[in-house]
Each structure stands twice: as structure tokens, then as C-alpha cells.
Symmetry: C2
Subunit: 404 residues, 2 copies
Amino acid sequence: MSEGKRSALLPVEQALERLLTLAETTPIKDTKRVALADAHGRVLAEPLIATLDLPPWPNSAMDGYALRLSEWQGEPLAVSQRIFAGTAPQPLQAGTCARIFTGAPVPAGADVVEMQENAEVLEDGRVRFTEPLKIGQNIRPQGQETRVGETVLVAGTRLNAIKLGLCATLGVAELSVVRRPRVAVLSTGDELIEPGQPLGPGQIYNSNRTLLCQWLRQVGCEVVDGGILPDNLEQTRERLGGFDRVDLILSTGGVSVGEADFLGHALREEGELTLWKLAIKPGKPLTFGHFRGVPVIGLPGNPASTLVTFALLARPYLLRRMGVVDVTPLCFPVPAAFVWRTAGERREYLRARIEDGRAVLYSNQSSGVLRSAAWAEGLVEVPEGRTLVEGDSVNFIPLSEVLN
Amino acid sequence: MSEGKRSALLPVEQALERLLTLAETTPIKDTKRVALADAHGRVLAEPLIATLDLPPWPNSAMDGYALRLSEWQGEPLAVSQRIFAGTAPQPLQAGTCARIFTGAPVPAGADVVEMQENAEVLEDGRVRFTEPLKIGQNIRPQGQETRVGETVLVAGTRLNAIKLGLCATLGVAELSVVRRPRVAVLSTGDELIEPGQPLGPGQIYNSNRTLLCQWLRQVGCEVVDGGILPDNLEQTRERLGGFDRVDLILSTGGVSVGEADFLGHALREEGELTLWKLAIKPGKPLTFGHFRGVPVIGLPGNPASTLVTFALLARPYLLRRMGVVDVTPLCFPVPAAFVWRTAGERREYLRARIEDGRAVLYSNQSSGVLRSAAWAEGLVEVPEGRTLVEGDSVNFIPLSEVLN
């Protein structure tokens, strides 16, 4: 293939950049207040600002005894109070110690907690401390984790269990989150039939609908199931126009290939259509456009291509529309357990596993083979123009990072 | 600390092995048939065996022309049929070619597909092929991905979107899955109060409930919210005995520490209680036991300790009870961007991020500080007895691998 043809392919990072820029021009601005228990996977619409110190007061990190080291001469001390977690202590009486338990507030006047293992209770009930002590020991100071007024989570944070737990520690029971994007999912192709139906001649089962509906839900979208698009212009137009308040139409398969490209026709008539030839394999053809103002993304229809383009392009686009800043998945350099002989003009994303610390490929990397992805733990990235020998370092993107 | 004391700590992998063995003695055997759309996160109860070949028939990988190379002399060929995806072709008429589109069945008699870019349509409608051809070219053979009778997914597979997509390609609309484990979640401690309530003296907000309920749901469990356990023996007994058909009682905080250990009392009276001192930091004390025959796991109460012990011990235990074989998260060696001066006797799991390819630690690694985990992208493992200099390789476990 000539240099001229090669340069016509759009590199992955440029495609992503364009999509993110497009996403920023149509942000989802509506917000909603939801209970903590319902906020998993949602995106924070406002920063979370601490309204209390964490911890709210100095507290004991151990079960033991609180005393005032700065006024102590080394003598055994009587126990003047017992402080359980959840109770409010009295100020420490001079010349005494307080029995204290993990998490309990340290009484005013105490400046150290000694753990019970280093304390000896005498017959008269007084306590002798035998190890050297240091002021502040075993005391978690007030505000050690967070101070009132600090921004704890920024707007645009995707809420997972840990972040919700953090909201809980701050006493927050409700959060303002970004409305879920409504995404209409369409499959195209007369050959598709839904699982559970008998397979006729020339027909295959529709898997992209299952894949996309589930991935979209995990990204935090509301899915409008648009079914299989008929291979007919009038019906295509009707279907596209019939979606109620959707933020995106996501289709797989069929835009501008073949002669029966009714989706492409409809977009050209009542919107706009750009066909990108991406330097990505699997997944070269990607469509971006709009229909009567609603953005449309058309992913390639082979399931492994759908996977790669959804994970690397459509998912970050949707996250950015919700205001998420960091849309880059973690990736790790690992040694290849394989040889890659032919330098490709497209960046390849191969379905791979980690075995003995090295990346092993599924035997069949055809874009039609979904089984490769079901077997895989991640995607190995082979850059454009590269060949590899065993042991060469390749980037490995865990699937858990891009499909959650 | 003496060698004697050190050896009393249970290494993480031994603790995990014991828990997995315990899990295998109480597998969840009930199964349920669910629709594909409801099967996400569930565990397959039976192997998925292919009842059709994939692809079901040889099909075209390209838009182009199908011909019979073995009987072709190089002359231009008339087009005798047009084969769209979803249609059943006629056998190829001798001395002709067929117009064919991506995904359409290759007609009987054809042994090659040439892409349209390499074909020239003459004025009389015949097609001339200009490039060298090879038998089988651009044809995806029947059964290339899967053959009838092959085991495509084994029993014990955790179903994610991709695996459900694979079920869909095989026409499967319903699956037999393992019943969700019912897990009762308990927090212990009079100091705990739920978010949204005003904070009294000595009180802190309960975050573990939010964390555990959410994590358990993600693992595929049904959560029975047991609330905050009262610091009172009679009420503790009543609460523990009042759960309806639970498979596990999961508690955080308070077992066998302090003097008001009512959960420990109740277990000793009407069940069994083993206290493990784990060689893990954060998270040393872990309880395993049962109450009237129901398994009980008690995790430490500091939120970072709860996180680490849930992710590394309780989660694999629950997955194994559902029959999941592979419960090991992916982990990757990365260079440390920090110095670790003191060799610990416990294996440390530090909250960390990847920056410029190196593991960076959160400034405050106290087990009470949940903010470290909210900031983190993963856990860095520092083995027992190790010190580190910058650039040393450490294991990094992405949080997405253990909290999904």
C-alpha cells in the first residue's frame, strides 16, 4: 500500500481527541439528586466539599490507656474513667489515666495512648507503664484525613463503592449527579436474528445488542433498545426519528458499506455523516454524524471490532459527555510471549491473557471471532509499523479497565 | 519482635487457601434459569456447549465477488446472482461469478471471494479480476470460531458482557446460573451513625455499610442489610438468629477487641470462632466462624483494612462458594516511585496510582483513611521483610480487578 493511502488513516489518539472535543460541545447538563445507595456508577455534578473534619476529634488507634505524658513522673496511675467508642469523655483528671478503646475520643488533657499490651494493672487497680512513651503516640489527630472546607471529590468524578464510602464518612446521604445519557442502540443487517429464535438460511444471531446494552449500562447510560434496523430507507428514517429525547444513537454494522446503506442515506439527508478510516485493527471504519441534531456513532459490526472501538472510543466519548475528565484506562507494559512478524499500517489490539507474567495471544484474532475476547483478560497494543520478537515489551490494557 | 511472635502471623496466601477450602465445603448449589439480559455478573451453573457451528456457513469477509477459482481461466465473468447478508444463495452457476456482501453466505461451488476494490466492471456488466487469487481467500470457513458440541464456557464462569455476547452468537437466550449468595452485612460499634443524621459527641459516620453493600452486589450477592449491631449480648443474639436463609454473615469491626465484644460472645456460645492474625497490613485481625451453622466472616473495621481484606479474602471466598475457579486478580510488576525503608513483618497493600509508568503512594497510608483508596487506582504489594529503593519492581493490583 502506498504512503499516500497510509496517511489517509486516522491515528487512534487523533480520533479519540476529535470525539472528546465533540463530546465537550454537547455536555449533559441536567443533574439529579440521588441517595448514596443509588449513586453507584453515576458522575458527580458538583464537588464534594467536607463539612466536617475527619476524624472529627482526636481518637485512639488502640485499646489501651490515655494519659498526660507531659505531666507524668513515671508513677503508676489510677484509672479515672473508661472511654468506649461512641461516648463523650470527661477531661482527663490530673494524675490519672483513662481506660480507652479503639476509635474512642481521646479526653482533653491526655497527650498519649499506650496500648494495653504494654500496661500492667496492679492489685490496687492502678496501671504501670513499662515502655518508653512519646507525645501523640497512638492518637489519630482531628482532621488528619480531611479538614472542613476541603474539596474531597471534584465535579466529574465517577462514583464507585470506595468514593461512595468516602461520601458516607463525611455524613453525606444524597448527591447531585449528572443525568444518565439516553443512548439508542441499533443493529443493522437483515441477516440478524435475536437469540432464542430459530436460525433461517443466511441468518446469524445478534450479539452486538447484548454487548452494547450491557456496556452502556455499566458506563452509566440509560439504554433505549432500537432493535434491528430494517434494510429500507423509509423505515430507517422513521426509526431514527422516533426515539424520545436521546443523547446519542449508537449503531453497529453497515454504515456506508454495501449497496443497501439506508442508515447512511438517512444521515446524509437529514443530518451529517463523516466516515473515518481509523488506523486501528480490528475496527477500521467508524462513522460520526448526526440525525436531526442527535449525535450518531456507527461502530463496525464484527464483534471484536465493536469491542475495541466501543472500549477505546465510544466509552470515553460518553464519559466525557457526562463531564468525566480522566477517561484514560490503565495500561501496563508486559513482555510479549509471541512473535509479530508483519508490521501493520494500523495499530492492532489483540485479545490476550497474562500467563507467567507474559502476554499470550488467542489463536484466532479474526474480528469476527468474539470467543477471543471472552477468553481474554485484556488487549495487547501493537503500534503501527512495529514487529515484535518474544520478550519485547507491549502495552496491556486489562478489560476490567475499559468495560466497567 | 521475636521470631516466635512473627511466625504466629498467618501469611495472606495461606489465609486465602483456608478460606477457599472452607468455601468449597459449603458450595451454593441452587440454580436458576435467567434471561441473557439478566445474567450479567452471575455464575454459569452448567457448561455452555455449542449447538451450532460459528460461523454457521462459509461467509464472505468482504464486499466483492465470489467465483470458482479452480475452474476459472482468467476471463471476465458475468454476474449470475447478488447475495446480501441474510439471504440464502443459489449454487454458483458454472462460468459466472456472484456479487456478494460482507457476512453473506458463500454460494456452493465458489471457492474464493475477491474484494470489490480489485474488480473492474466492464461495459457489458461482466467483471474482470486483475490481482492474483488464492483458494479460500476472503472466505470465513464454517465452524472457524466454534464447532457444534464444543464447550465454549465452563461451569463456574462469571458472566460479563462479552461472555453474554458469546452466548448470544450461539443463539442462547436463557442460562442456568448459580443462585446469588445471600449475605447479611453487619457493622459493629455504638459510635456509628448513618449518613444524613446529625453527629453526636464521640460518633462517626458508618462508611463500611456503603462499601460492603456495594461490593457485595458487584460480586453478585444479594445483600441483607443487618444495620449496626447493638453493643448488647441479647440483642446481638437476636439479630444474628433473625436473618432468613443467609449464606454468610459479614461483619466489620469489633470482633474480640475491647471489652464489649458481644458478637464474639454470641459466636462462642452458639457456634464457633477462630481469630486469625494475618500477615497483612492494613487488616491484621480477621474472624472466621459460624453462628447456628451460618458461616461468619468478621473483617477489621478501619475502612482501608475493610477494603484490603474484602478484596483479597472475602471476595474470592464468595466467588468460590458460587463455583468460580479463577479468583486471582491480575497484577502487574511496576517500578516503585517511592522508597520503603523499614521491612515489615506483614505484607503491605499500599494505596497507589500509576504516574509516568511508576507506582506513586498516597501520602497517608493509615488504615483509617479511606481517602487514600478513593484517590488510588490500585494496591501496591510490599512483601514481608522487604525494603525498597526507587525503581524497584513491585506488584500492582488494579482496583478494577478486585472490586468488580
